[in-house]
Amino acid sequence: MTTQQTPAPGGAQEPPLPGTGQVPGAGALRQTGKLFALAASVLWLSFKRPFQARELIEQFWFIASVTILPSMLVSIPFGAVITLQVGSLTQQLGAESFTGAASVLAVVQQASPLIVALLIAGAGGSAICADIGSRTIREEMEAMEVMGVSPIQRLIVPRVMAASLVAVLLNGLVSVVGVLGGYFFFVYLQHGTPGAFLASFSSLAQLPDLYISEIKALIFGFIAGVVAAHRGLNPRPGPKGVGEAVNQSVVISFLLLFFVNLILTAIYLKIVPPKG
């Protein structure tokens, strides 16, 4: 807005209005607050009618189509790397029979939700952010608000929901593909016994591992969607602002994902007793 660049009437004599003081770090806190406010209103509006089913399906299809193949391609080598690393370690310790369990735990609990989240944030989130951002700078959001339609309900809620749901479903796929990749490398490259790999599944892994994996995927997908929407709704003016917003959205999502993952893992280990 051009008005922001023009000097104030009366110049420096104007007293600053309350709430506009420049405390260091205030900007970051304000953005954090806005992010949480957006997350809260997305949750609240998810349950309000009219529900945008059509938009949800379109976004769901879009996010799924851009993430399925890359996440599978990433998960095969990832499962293999874990198996190879853990396998060589357990060989030295003489506990080869636990390789299967260790790789399953690592893949299902940690690797799979993170791979899913990184791809959703990187492929889906950046596209959402660019789309919302360019609509914002073209005043489409304001136009929609003026027409009495909430852009959060109409556009953001379906996108965040789609990101969360795709994350949950994709997490199952990535888990399976990752474990299969690990199995393949364990059996054919390290010449381990297939029976030992499968048998150790149930000795260390348990059902809550799968639950936490899906819960993580759900939360990560939600975070990726909300961060993308938040940056898209508040870009700096101009096309360059949209580019910056996309960049920021990916970086912020990644930082948040790893941080939230740490907290969730710590909580999980506290409340779910380890098996065996």
Binding site: M1, T3, Q4, Q5, T6, E14, A143, E145, V146, M147
Partner: protein, 402 residues
């Protein structure tokens, strides 16, 4: 009939930059108003704060009993259905074609069938001259078309208040003239309150009933069009004439020294305003503007509070329309501040006749061959007494009412 929008003590600042402060005005119901101002004086911010897109720091905006500036989200969304906003660049949804764009508010807020929606949308598209362009996407059309499509979309819900953000920018003068006419016709047809934010002086001179002007963060003036267009305020005369000499500078501010230098160089710039041009009338076939009647009554009741040139302009514009001579209201009082200007001089009564004036020769007025008409034969045999109700044009006369 449109609804009144009352703004009281509105102040907005971005950080330390005060955009405007303490703006109080009232957009009279059903009338067309224009907000003028040089670029960057916060006209768009003002317009956006009227619909609650920007929350002001202080003050209130009352529409239909709701304070737009401070009400809850839910009330705000309900109140916004009263508004139709035409954004500067149209603000169309890039992912929808023009038809779907214009149909969007109908699909969101009404339960019309697709056939009814189609009828309304096509009617509005024809109104703004976009008939047959429904399948095009906003990215494929010119800025002027986007603007007109934005107007059509603002109109589909039959709003009570229409806000137009710079309808002229990016349009050629002819299209601007058409758009001006369209806005007047709209006002005649649906009687909505219209606010146009612009810096186009041609629109300001021909379209509105009321004009306001923003400059340096203040509302300099808001009132009937004649007041601003006859004002001697240096900011207004400079703006209306589009001159460089005056308080408005390139960078919004012009400091006193530059101003003094300019005046020393150019001498006192002539403060003459261009002649007041009559307001646009609705196109033939349109109903009469109800707002014009209401405004006449309103302006007449406040006539005595207006500056003298504005009073003269109003009276003369009414005289052209053969209006009844205004009478003083019962509670009329001599305004305290209205004294004669110091340089006023009593006209010299004796010198009204030109020197070369000659008394006409009384005896020679009748031509020599003039004959007294025969009184008895003036009426034709089939002459009938006309219907004696005053002002009625008898129906059997040529040109009478159909």
């Amino acid at each position: 009939m449109g609804i009144e929008v009352v703004v009281e003590g509105l102040t907005k600042s971005f950080g330390r930059h005060v955009v405007w402060q303490d703006i109080s005005l009232s957009l009279p119901a059903g009338e067309v108003s224009v907000m003028l101002g040089p670029s960057g004086t916060g006209k768009t911010v003002f317009l956006k704060s009227l619909v609650g897109l920007i929350r002001p720091d202080r003050g209130q905006v009352l529409v239909d009993g709701i304070d737009i500036a401070h009400c809850s989200e839910r009330k705000l969304y309900a109140a916004r259905k009263l508004f139709g906003v035409m954004f500067q660049d149209g603000a169309l949804f890039g992912s929808l074609n023009l038809f779907d764009n214009i149909a969007f508010p109908l699909r969101e807020h009404t339960k019309y069938t697709e056939a009814e929606i189609r009828r309304i949308v096509l009617e509005k598209m024809e109104m703004v001259g976009l008939a047959g362009d429904g399948h095009k996407f906003p990215g494929e059309i010119s800025g002027g078309m986007r603007k007109r499509a934005g107007l059509a979309r603002a109109l589909v819900l039959d709003p009570q208040v229409i806000l137009c953000d710079e309808p002229d920018s990016g349009l050629d003068p002819v299209r601007t003239a058409y758009l001006s006419q369209l806005l007047i016709d709209l006002n005649a047809e649906i009687d909505a309150t219209i606010l146009i934010v612009t810096h186009d002086i041609q629109i300001a001179r021909t379209v509105p009933d009321n004009i306001g002007m923003l400059f340096r963060g203040n509302l300099i003036m808001f009132g009937p069009r004649e007041v601003l267009l006859t004002s001697a305020n240096p900011v207004i005369t400079q703006f209306v004439n589009g001159r460089r000499a005056g308080p408005i500078g390139m960078s919004e501010e012009k400091d006193a020294t530059t101003l003094a230098l300019e005046e020393a160089r150019d001498g006192a710039a002539s403060q003459e305003l261009p002649a007041l041009v009559p307001q646009l009338d609705p196109s033939p076939g349109m109903p009469e503007r109800q707002a014009a009647k209401r405004r006449r009554a309103r302006v007449m009741s406040m006539l005595h509070t207006l500056p003298v040139p504005a009073q003269e302009a109003i009276v003369s514009s009414l005289g052209a329309g053969s209006q009844p001579v205004p009478t003083e209201p019962d509670d009329w009082q001599e305004p305290a501040g209205r004294t004669e200007p110091d340089d006023w001089q009593e006209p010299d009564d004796d010198t009204t006749e030109p020197d070369d004036w000659q008394e006409p020769d009384d005896d020679t007025t009748e031509p020599d061959d003039w004959q007294e008409p025969d009184d008895d034969t003036t009426e034709p045999d089939d002459w009938q007494e006309p219907d004696d109700r005053p002002g009625r044009w008898p129906s059997h006369w040529p040109g009478g009412p159909r």
